[in-house]
């Protein structure tokens, strides 16, 4: 939190355009996609797993929305796209929890597999989305807030409740903290791990929904490399890659920190190559100060 505040103060000195309502809403919209992915990722990482396939599942859902919208209504396209995303997550979950394949490998396989499916489905050519209502979903405002940001906030709220107030949520922490202990306590570890990957998949499908509606296109390369961005947001947000510790609130903060960094670097017009240098250095510095302030 302290890190974010310092960043915001620094940013508002660097550019007088930063602290305008329009720009802040901009940031909130800009972080929506990765922010949503990062929330799903948080569930997985809390169980001591990892999901490298979120970007690919996003891509797969994106082309499915686009493909179905060519001939069907949103009421058909959205549920089906989400279903496919959850199915991909289910396969991940079965591989990890039932077949005992390390999460890194299982989801790396899915990264490749889901991306391949997306390419096959489209034949490599992006499918434009001409549905206006769908376009509005990604680009309109509700109560003055961009809809994608509202989707992000809704997912955040639901996830926070699940993680802190349900038996499933608490068990997720227990599994990541000490899987054996959780099993010995009678927690249905296998089932819960499967559910966690289904959540990550489903949430990726929701991120895909934002992506497809925001950009009005079903491109099979959508979301390439987002897995690292999502993991970064989770870790910057204070969740341990070794499980059991963290929160979606932290992940949201992490997402904002990274989003504000990108925004301010753009606003000040730094040389893009130098931006890359800064970005690397600033993430490290932000985390350093976060861990400092967390300690005291």
């Amino acid at each position: 939190m302290a890190a974010l505040i310092i960043l915001v103060i620094a940013a508002s000195f660097l550019s007088d355009r930063f602290l305008t309502p329009a720009n802040l809403l901009n940031i909130l919209r800009q972080v929506a996609i990765v922010g949503i992915l990062a929330i799903g990722m948080t569930f997985v990482i809390l169980t001591r797993g990892i999901d490298l396939s979120v970007g690919s599942i996003l891509g797969l859902s994106v082309v499915i929305y686009a493909g179905l919208l060519e001939t069907h209504s949103m009421a058909i396209a959205i549920p089906l796209g989400l279903l496919v995303a959850m199915a991909a997550g289910l396969v991940n979950g079965l591989g990890v929890a039932s077949a005992g394949i390390p999460p890194f490998i299982m989801t790396l396989g899915m990264l490749s597999f889901a991306r391949g499916l997306a390419f096959l489905y489209t034949g490599g050519t992006p499918i434009p989305i001409l549905n206006e209502a769908f376009y509005d979903l990604g680009n309109d405002y509700l109560f003055g807030i961009p809809i994608p940001s509202l989707i992000l906030l809704a997912i955040l709220a639901v996830s926070a409740i699940i993680l802190s107030l349900t038996a499933f949520g608490r068990s997720v922490y227990a599994i990541g903290s000490n899987e054996e202990a959780a099993r010995l306590s009678g927690v249905p570890v296998r089932l819960y791990k499967i559910i966690v990957y289904v959540i990550a998949g489903g949430v990726s499908g929701l991120a895909g929904l934002v992506y497809a509606s925001q950009l009005s296109i079903g491109t099979p390369i959508a979301g390439q490399g987002y897995e690292l961005d999502a993991i970064a947001a989770v870790v910057v947000g204070g969740t341990s890659l070794f499980g059991g510790k963290g929160s979606v609130g932290g992940t949201f903060l992490g997402t904002l920190i990274i989003g504000v960094l990108a925004n301010i670097l753009n606003l000040t017009g730094v040389d893009p190559y130098v931006q890359q240098l800064f970005k690397g250095a600033l993430i490290v510095v932000a985390v350093y100060f976060m861990s400092r302030s967390g300690r005291s």
Partner: protein
């Protein structure tokens, strides 16, 4: 009293061809405390784990209240009312005490959410009943081992078990906590719960058990009403041979090896001073939480004290790390085997030699045969039971793991050796081996600091006893002054 709650018939279990249980019969009646005893590695924990759905037996059957049952997971066992406190602490370290207690059976509100208020109330009740004073929302990873054990006990009770199995629960508890536990067990008994109890402290068996089963090398070598037998009967069936009791001979002490003066660490201990000489055993006594471990860690270079000085062989030193401490000849065997001791997925050999790899080098490279020779010697001396030096240490039984860690400390050839609860979880045979080892070490001039919650151990071994109370030295007693009474009084008395 006569109702059979749980019956195991001819259980057999092998790991990688090693038979660990062979044809063991075992019965638990309602309202009975059934003790299981045996040497380290005899198969006690394995028996428990097959009763709890952790391991599937290779052969044999399990009847619960007369019905043959297959337990596929601990979850199944819990559903059948079989609840276990395992020897290895099984808590989620990042979760709070209250959440650990209710993990696996959270109470729900009308909305299907976790009922935090009920959890809070129940936890408070349980902790009060067990007379433990901890913050129920603190992550249990931050609690001391003893406190964690008490949380485990609270957790087990919260399950409303029919059969409650306790695998060495007293190993990490002090006298008063043991009494609390035994009172509780007595009460559960009257409620008709069947209790299985494992301990290496044979006097405890006679204190609370009704029946006892003896295991040796995976076979049952005896079962009897406790009232009908004595300690010799047990020992004979456990070990099958006599073992000597080593009493300490009077020795000459050399020059001061370790001089600790006015040592303090803010919030933990304060103004701690004592001297330990070559050839001397200095005991640190006190209740759990008195700060003994912290003092030891400061001397071992693991934590940095905020005040005071440490002299080693007359020279004032600053121990910045365990590495520096080792260079001054100080070695430490931790009480916290799991988090500070074991390299869990490495072999016995690697665990034993990691503290002094320089010793096992030839031409700059590690030499396996040098390592093997050392490990072989240590294994023999400490009587470690295992399949071989290349076995992963986590497959060893708890007591045998402890012995390997002692071998590790000895590999440094220390001049000052700090033992923090060295015989925790060690069987009586091996305990006597460790005592004789300690004797041997001090005779050769080593200085030993011994922390133990076992009164008998301290009294038998220590030449001088420093009693800590709430981080301060309450009194220092010579061998002649020390007795259970004087120590307890100093340790527990309110100032």
């Amino acid at each position: 009293m006569d109702k059979i709650l749980l019956e195991a018939v001819a259980l057999t279990k092998a790991f990688d061809g090693n038979v660990v249980l062979s044809g063991v019969d075992f019965t638990v009646h309602a309202g009975e405390v059934h003790a299981v005893v045996g040497e380290n590695g005899a198969g006690k924990s394995t028996l428990i784990k097959t009763l709890a759905g952790v391991h599937r037996p290779d052969r044999g059957k399990l009847l619960i209240e007369g019905v043959e049952t297959t337990l596929r997971s601990p979850r199944d066992a819990i559903a059948e009312g079989v609840v276990v406190i395992h020897q290895e602490l099984s808590l989620a370290p990042h979760l709070s005490a209250e959440e650990n207690i209710f993990l696996g059976h959270f109470p729900h509100t009308r909305w299907g959410l976790v009922d935090r208020r009920r959890i809070r109330e129940h936890t408070r009740e349980l902790l009060k009943r067990l007379m433990i004073d901890i913050d129920p929302v603190r992550p249990v990873g931050e609690l001391s081992i003893a406190q964690q054990q008490m949380v485990e006990i609270a957790k087990a009770i919260s399950f409303q078990a029919k059969v409650l199995i306790l695998d060495e629960p007293t190993a990490v508890l002090d006298e008063s906590m043991v009494s609390t536990l035994f009172d509780l067990v007595a009460k559960l008994k009257t409620e008709g719960i069947g209790i299985v109890f494992i301990s290496h402290h044979l006097e405890e068996i006679f204190r609370i058990a009704d029946t006892v089963t003896v295991l040796r090398d995976g076979s049952r070598t005896g079962v009897s009403k406790v009232s009908a037998i004595d300690q010799d009967w047990l020992v004979a069936r456990m070990i099958g041979r006599e073992f000597p009791i080593h009493d300490v001979q009077v020795r000459e002490f050399g020059s001061p090896a370790l001089e600790v003066s006015h040592l303090g660490l803010r919030g933990t201990f304060d103004d701690v001073s004592f001297i330990a000489r070559q050839g001397e055993i200095v005991g640190l006594a006190g209740l759990i939480g008195a700060g003994r471990t912290e003092v030891a860690k400061a001397v071992a270079g693991i934590i940095r004290p905020t005040s005071g000085t440490i002299k080693v062989f007359g020279k004032a030193v600053r121990l910045r790390s365990p590495n520096t401490a080792a260079r001054f000849g100080i070695s430490y065997v931790s009480e916290d085997r799991k988090t500070l001791g074991l390299l869990p997925n490495r072999s016995v050999l690697e665990n034993a030699t990691i503290s002094n790899l320089a010793r096992f080098r030839k031409l700059g490279f590690l030499n396996r045969s040098l390592e093997r020779r050392y490990v072989k010697g240590a294994v023999k001396r400490l009587d470690v039971r295992m399949s071989g030096p290349d076995a992963e240490i986590r497959t060893l039984s708890g007591g045998n793991q402890q012995k390997v860690l002692i071998a590790r400390a000895l590999a440094v050839e220390p001049r000052i050796l700090i033992f923090d609860e060295p015989t925790r979880g060690v069987d009586i045979g091996a305990k006597s081996e460790i005592y004789s080892l300690i004797n041997e070490l001090v005779r050769s001039g080593m200085c030993v600091i011994l922390i133990s919650s076992e009164m008998e151990e301290i009294l038998r071994l220590a030449d001088r006893i420093v009693v800590l109370r709430r981080g301060k030295v309450a009194v220092t007693l010579s061998r002649d002054e020390a007795s259970e009474n004087t120590i307890m009084r100093a340790a527990a008395l309110a100032e």
